[in-house]
Amino acid sequence: MASSSSSDDPPATTRRRFLKIATCSVGCGLGAAIAVPAVGYLLYPVGRRLVTTGDDPIDAIAADRIVAGAPPVRVPLVAAAQRDAWTTVRDVPLGAAWLRRTDGGELVALSAVCPHLGCAVGWDDGGKIFKCPCHESAFAVDGARMAGPAERGLDPLPLTVADGRIRITWVRYKTGGSRREPG
């Protein structure tokens, strides 16, 4: 038993060395025992789809309301139900689509999300173009890119017609870049 603190005493020095290493090791072990589960816990949302709506197409509007030659019509897309982590909410607005009918009679839906940085594009009836209010990207009536910082045209949305109603599948594409990828 060391009686008093004397660092010159070899057995005491060895003993203290051991104690220091042991204490640090136990301390690190304790820290790791808490940190490892904590990291797993914190990273739970990574790579999971925690906000989900059904993949079913969303009922938008009667097909005969969209006529050839008329300006595009903006329709809100409202999901019947959305699961957001612990909550299930009904009638959740997801976004909006611009609908028009081509001269050939074909229906086209374009996402109202600007492919530049995600602002909502509007229709400029004077210039007959889509315009983004944020950074002034401009798109032709068929969605093709015309001017401004956007690197691609407006994103088309899948559309079906059943029982005289237009149903649109909502896709939120990644903004930025020229490639169109679902977000």
């Binding site: 603190s5 204490t23 136990v26 299930t88």
Partner: protein, 576 residues
């Protein structure tokens, strides 16, 4: 090395570290001194786990329960983090109790350490305040009702009770403001106060050093001095590791922390506080009226006050317990009274058979709520709305209110309606003995000679009649050849009393077209005395006015579902 030197030059960290670690421990390091360190470790653990919980918790009356259920049942290791936080609080109460008792027995509150003691007692009070505010946050039944009792006590304060209660609960009723208040107290106010006071407590401890055993003399202590680092810290770290291991075993064994069904103000619930408040809980049973208020508010004030005043009351320089019989005896009486009251509380619960049953039902309900929350998510209306996501929730609630007393149980007046209703076996047994007890045996009609006669057909002919009626339900698995045979038999055996053309009045027995389909049930429930049904022989109440079309359709869907259900399928739905 250079970076370290640079940092030391600018920040002076070496001196700080040296000051923190190279504290001489008079009399040598000892395991007797670990309690404070373990408590400090547990405090750090509570802060860490509490911070982690805040990543998933949502403090609003409509979200709180759902978010806790989510982190318990879906987030990776969420149950472990919450379990550590929940049981870690209990561990802190235990270790704080031991710490306090040791300091009291050692006489460590005496000059010059009076302020160490006073800050320690206040920290104990803060610990209990943490427990009280944290209990409500999951917004489950236990937390809700136990906290109701606590704010009820606050409300019974003389003179300003109502104002005090409203200040604590944030308005006239429990709701969002109650939660945001408790949350702010629990995660902002109390931690800030605790961190500040712990800093003072530790600084004072460093100023005066550990309190050695009372039987060791000063010169003896001077002769044996060891540094805090590593001699004492090694012992502290060992104790922390042991405490953490025990806590892990505890959490594992308990399966994490309890989460009851979502708070439901309309329900009856046996509110029980955490174990460390059980003594006070039991004490309140012995008082009533204004005495209860005095006991509830007085007991903590008296105990806390006595503890705070201890260094003032017991001022002699001698730390030997033999010279401090009176204060130590009082402390002993306090400890024994607490233990006895706590024991009595648990014993009276154990002796209450009804309580056990109610608790089991509450647990089943909690399990049902959590399973539904995991499967369907919780509607925005809040925790209790999760039950509405159960299959046929609305239908079964109506059933329990309006239908069950006539169609189930011993006091019923009509046929039994349960799993298998309108299935082939059900129809067959009915045709063979329409006035059997499970069928129309309990009706007034069965006691007259106008009741339906048993069908005399057997074997394949009986099968055919069963199939004919079964086919009306729209079931997909119908044998068409048997139905054709049944239709022939119908003309011979049944058509004197029954029609089977849709919409045609039928007398004396009901028209059984579409029998067992949703629209059939919906109109039957509306008015069973309609000409196509029982006419003047009807004994069932009309529900056309009491139940909306939607409600009747919900009920009808439920009755259709019962056809192919087994009793265990119904039981699996739980209580509505």
């Amino acid at each position: 090395m250079k970076i370290r030197d640079w940092l030391d030059d600018r920040a002076g960290w070496r001196a700080v570290l040296h000051g923190a670690l190279h504290e001489p421990v008079l009399g040598g390091a000892s395991f007797a001194y670990v309690f404070g360190s373990v408590l400090f470790f547990l405090l750090l653990l509570q802060m860490t786990t509490g911070l982690l919980l805040a990543f998933y918790y949502s403090p609003s009356a409509s979200d709180a329960w759902a978010s806790v259920a989510y982190l318990e049942d879906q987030v990776t290791l969420g149950w472990l983090i919450r379990g550590l936080h929940h049981h870690g609080a209990s561990a802190m109460v235990i270790v704080a109790g031991l710490h306090l008792l040791q300091v009291a027995v050692w006489g460590a509150y005496k000059k010059p350490r009076e302020l160490n003691w006073v800050t320690g007692v206040i920290l104990l009070g803060l610990l209990l305040a943490f427990a009280l505010t944290g209990y409500l946050l999951p917004w489950d039944q236990t937390g809700y009702w136990a906290t109701k009792v606590a704010t009820g006590i606050a409300g019974s304060t003389p003179v300003m009770g109502d104002q005090l209660r409203e200040a604590v609960q944030g308005g006239n009723e429990y709701g969002n403001l109650t939660l945001t208040r408790f949350f702010a107290l629990h995660v902002l106010v109390l931690p800030a106060l605790t961190v500040g006071l712990v800093a003072v407590h530790l600084a004072l401890f460093r100023r005066h050093g550990v309190t050695p055993h009372w039987w060791r003399r000063g010169d003896e202590l001077e002769r044996r001095v060891q540094p805090f680092w590593p001699d004492q810290l090694a012992r502290d770290m060992t104790a922390m590791a042991v405490a953490f291991a025990l806590l892990l075993v505890w959490v594992w064994h308990a399966g994490g922390a309890r989460l009851d069904a979502p708070a439901d103000p309309s329900s009856a619930f046996d509110a029980r506080p955490e174990w460390y408040f059980r003594a006070l809980f039991q004490l309140l049973k012995y008082f009533s009226g204004s005495l209860e208020t005095i006991a509830a508010l007085g007991a903590p004030v008296v105990v806390g006050g006595a503890l705070l005043a201890l260094p003032v009351i017991d001022r002699g320089p001698d730390r030997s317990p033999r010279r401090r019989i009176v204060p130590l005896a009082l402390l002993g009486v306090g400890v024994i009274a607490t233990v006895v009251l706590t024991g009595l509380s648990y014993r009276s619960d154990a002796a209450d058979a009804g309580l056990g049953k109610r608790m089991a039902r509450a647990e089943a309900r909690a399990a049902q709520a959590r399973a539904l929350a995991k499967k369907n998510g919780v509607p925005p209306a809040g925790g209790t709305a999760v039950f509405q996501t159960a299959p046929f929730w609305r239908a079964r609630a109506i059933w329990a209110r309006d239908c069950e007393h006539c169609h189930a149980g011993e006091k019923r007046k009509g046929p039994v309606i349960a799993a298998g209703y309108n299935s082939r076996p059900w129809l067959r047994a009915f045709l063979v003995e329409p006035s059997a007890d499970a069928y129309y045996g309990r009706t007034k009609l069965a006691k007259t000679d106008k009741a339906m006669e048993p069908v005399e057909q057997t074997g394949r002919d009986l099968d055919a009649l069963v199939e004919l009626v079964y086919a009306e339900s729209g079931a997909p698995d119908v044998d068409a050849a048997l139905v054709a045979r049944g239709a022939e038999l119908f003309e011979q055996v049944c058509s004197d009393c029954h029609e089977r053309e849709p919409g045609v009045a039928s007398d004396p027995g009901p028209n059984f077209a579409h029998r067992g389909r949703p629209d059939f049930f919906a109109s039957f429930i509306a008015d069973a005395s309609a000409p196509i049904f029982f006419g003047e022989r009807n004994e069932m109440p009309k529900f056309a006015a009491d139940l909306s079309e939607d409600d009747r359709r919900e009920l009808a869907a439920w009755l259709v579902w019962l056809r192919d259900a087994r009793p265990e399928d119904v039981a699996a739905l739980g209580e509505p």
